[in-house]
Structure formats: structure tokens, C-alpha cells
């Protein structure tokens, strides 16, 4: 069964890249993940046979690939340099012209790095892929309850870390809108 790789890429590459980048925190790794997913699809088109939710299936492939890559990387180079590099590179958010917004996005990226990869993946899928906990469970091969509890833990941590900055931005926006 021939696979229209170009179409698949146009439809799903952005989502796969976002998840891969959020999990691996490196542009180069995210690219490797993306390439590996499409290479596998080209090599084994039968993988797509009988797939109901194509996006979820591709996200699952990308997540598995990203986790494999993380494991290999962790065993190869477990060093402080890696952590520092992770915090500075692989920023998953678009740049903003507003300084406070850009500052918040950087702080959010840094806060996400502090989460374990499995919580990071759940947050990413819930917030930026708008997946339900059932869908997340299917993608990450966990139970919906586990997905929900990971999401709650992660959001609590992010809230604790980003609340002051969030309140500051919200207040400034409210003030500017009122004036």
C-alpha cells in the first residue's frame, strides 16, 4: 500500500515535532525523531493499515522514538552539561515580540524541563494537542487514570513555579486593556 509521505508530513509534522521537541528538548533530536517516524512509514506502510486515529498513532510512534532517543542519550552522556544545554536549547515555543510574553514562554520552557519526561508528554498532549485522557492513555500506553494524575501533578508544579509571573502578566494586561 503506497503511502503519501508528503501529505502525512504536511498534516502531522508540526504536532510530531512539538511533542518530540518537548520530550527531547533538542532541535537535532526532534529532527531525528521526525525523520525516523517518516522513514519507518516509508519502509513499512502496512503499519498504517487499520489505524483509526492517524494523529494519535503517529504521536505514539514519535513519543516512543523520542523516549528511545532519550534513554540512549542518558546512558551515553549523563552530565551536568547536558542539563544546562537542555535548559537553554530546544525552546518549544514561538518567539514573541512582547518582552513579558517572551519572558513567560522562556520561564514556561524552563519549568517544563524540570518535569519528568512522562509528565511533560502528558502536559504537551493535553494542552497543545487537546487530547483527552483516554487518547493520551492510548498514545503513551498508560491508563487514563495515570494520565490524569500525571497531568495534575505536572500542572501543580507548573502553577507553583509560574504563578507569580503569570499573575504579573495578567495584571499588566488587564491594566493596559483598561487604560
Amino acid at each position: 500500500m503506497p503511502v503519501d509521505l508528503a501529505r502525512l508530513y504536511d498534516d502531522h509534522a508540526r504536532a510530531l515535532f512539538g511533542l518530540a521537541l518537548n520530550v527531547t528538548r533538542r532541535d537535532a533530536d526532534a529532527r531525528d525523531v521526525l525523520q525516523e517516524v517518516f522513514r519507518r512509514l516509508a519502509a513499512r506502510p502496512e503499519l498504517l493499515a487499520g489505524v483509526d486515529n492517524l494523529r494519535a498513532f503517529l504521536l505514539r510512534l514519535a513519543h516512543n522514538q523520542a523516549i528511545d532517543l532519550l534513554r540512549r542519550r542518558n546512558t551515553r552522556e549523563k552530565s551536568a552539561e547536558t542539563a544546562i544545554e537542555e535548559q537553554s536549547a530546544g525552546h518549544p515555543f514561538a518567539a514573541s515580540a512582547r518582552a513579558d510574553e517572551e519572558g513567560f514562554r522562556r520561564a514556561l520552557a524552563a519549568a517544563l524541563v524540570e518535569l519528568p519526561p512522562e509528565q511533560r508528554a502528558v502536559v504537551h498532549l493535553k494542552l497543545w494537542e487537546e487530547a483527552t485522557f483516554e487518547e493520551i492513555a492510548g498514545i503513551l500506553d498508560i491508563s487514563p487514570n495515570t494520565a490524569a494524575s500525571r497531568y495534575r501533578y505536572a500542572i501543580d508544579k507548573l502553577r507553583g513555579r509560574l504563578r507569580p509571573l503569570y499573575n504579573e502578566i495578567k495584571d499588566s494586561w488587564t491594566t493596559s486593556n483598561n487604560s
Binding site: A13, R14, L21, P92, L127, E130
Partner: protein, 159 residues
């Protein structure tokens, strides 16, 4: 989803660098043709393939040794039918007789040790009683135990 979560959700993600598209699609279609499906057992060895591989090799060696030793045991096992209980008893009796015969030939019953002349000093102190193969030594206890026997022996020698 509360305001905070909604605010996080509204942060836009980066787009895929546009130059990747052609590169990834070209690499995928080239690499895809060359892919050789990895055997399914490779997945079992994840995440420490060397450690699991070594453990599997050790198990294979142990299994091999086990099978080899079982074959050896089978080879040494008697092929004919097991003897009956009566045959076993008869065989054992025969064996015991042979053993007794052999031991009597190889080790003759100890005769009395040469006895010193009764007049010789300390002659009564050492005597090996032929029946019981008992040696009396120069201790108070031994003297008491052996006194009747020594007396009888001395009498027989003197007469």
C-alpha cells in the same frame, strides 16, 4: 481547565523549520527502501541489550550442561529390567559372604602377642586378649579390667 491552564494552552508552539521537509522526506524514502526488518527478539533485550544478552547466553550454557549431564546419567543407567527384591537380597548375601571371605584371607585374626616371660619384669602389664582383641595398657583402670584375664593367662603359661 482553569485560567492558568488556558493561558498555557494559548502559548503557541514553534513551527517545524521549513527546510526540513524536503530533507526528511528524501531521507525517509531513501532509508525506507533499505530497511531490513529487525527480528522481533531484539525488542526483548531492551533497554540493556548487552546485559540481557549475556544473561541469556549464561542460561543457554546452563541448559546445555544440564542436558549433557542428563544424557550422561542415561548412559550410565542399567539397560535391563530392575532385579526383584528376592534377587537383591540374594545378591547382597552373596556379596556379604564374598566380603567376609576376602577380609578373613586378607586380615587373619590377630593372634596373641608374644608374651614376655612371666618372670620378666612387667610381663603381666601387657597382654592382648585374643578373643576380644583387647589391649591392656599400663593404667590403673586397665590393670583392674585385665587382672583376671592376665591371671588366667599366666596360669596357662605356667602349666
Amino acid at each position: 481547565m482553569d485560567d492558568f491552564e488556558q493561558f498555557l494552552k494559548n502559548q503557541p508552539l514553534r513551527a517545524v523549520p521549513p527546510e526540513w521537509r524536503s530533507e526528511i522526506l528524501a531521507a525517509a524514502s531513501q532509508g525506507g527502501r533499505k530497511e531490513i526488518a529487525l527480528p522481533a527478539w531484539r525488542g526483548w533485550l531492551w533497554p540493556s541489550p548487552y546485559a540481557w544478552g549475556a544473561l541469556a547466553a549464561v542460561w543457554v550454557v546452563i541448559l546445555g550442561l544440564n542436558i549433557a549431564s542428563q544424557r550422561e546419567m542415561d548412559r550410565n543407567r542399567p539397560r535391563g529390567p530392575m532385579p526383584t527384591e528376592q534377587e537383591m537380597v540374594a545378591m547382597f548375601s552373596e556379596y556379604r559372604l564374598e566380603l567376609e571371605e576376602f577380609s578373613s584371607v586378607a586380615q587373619p585374626r590377630p593372634a596373641a602377642l608374644p608374651i614376655k616371660q612371666p618372670d620378666a619384669p612387667g610381663a603381666w602389664l601387657e597382654y592382648r586378649e585374643p578373643e576380644a582383641d583387647k589391649v591392656c595398657v599400663q593404667t590403673k583402670r586397665a590393670q583392674q579390667d585385665c587382672a583376671p584375664t592376665i591371671r588366667a593367662m599366666r596360669d596357662s603359661v605356667l602349666t
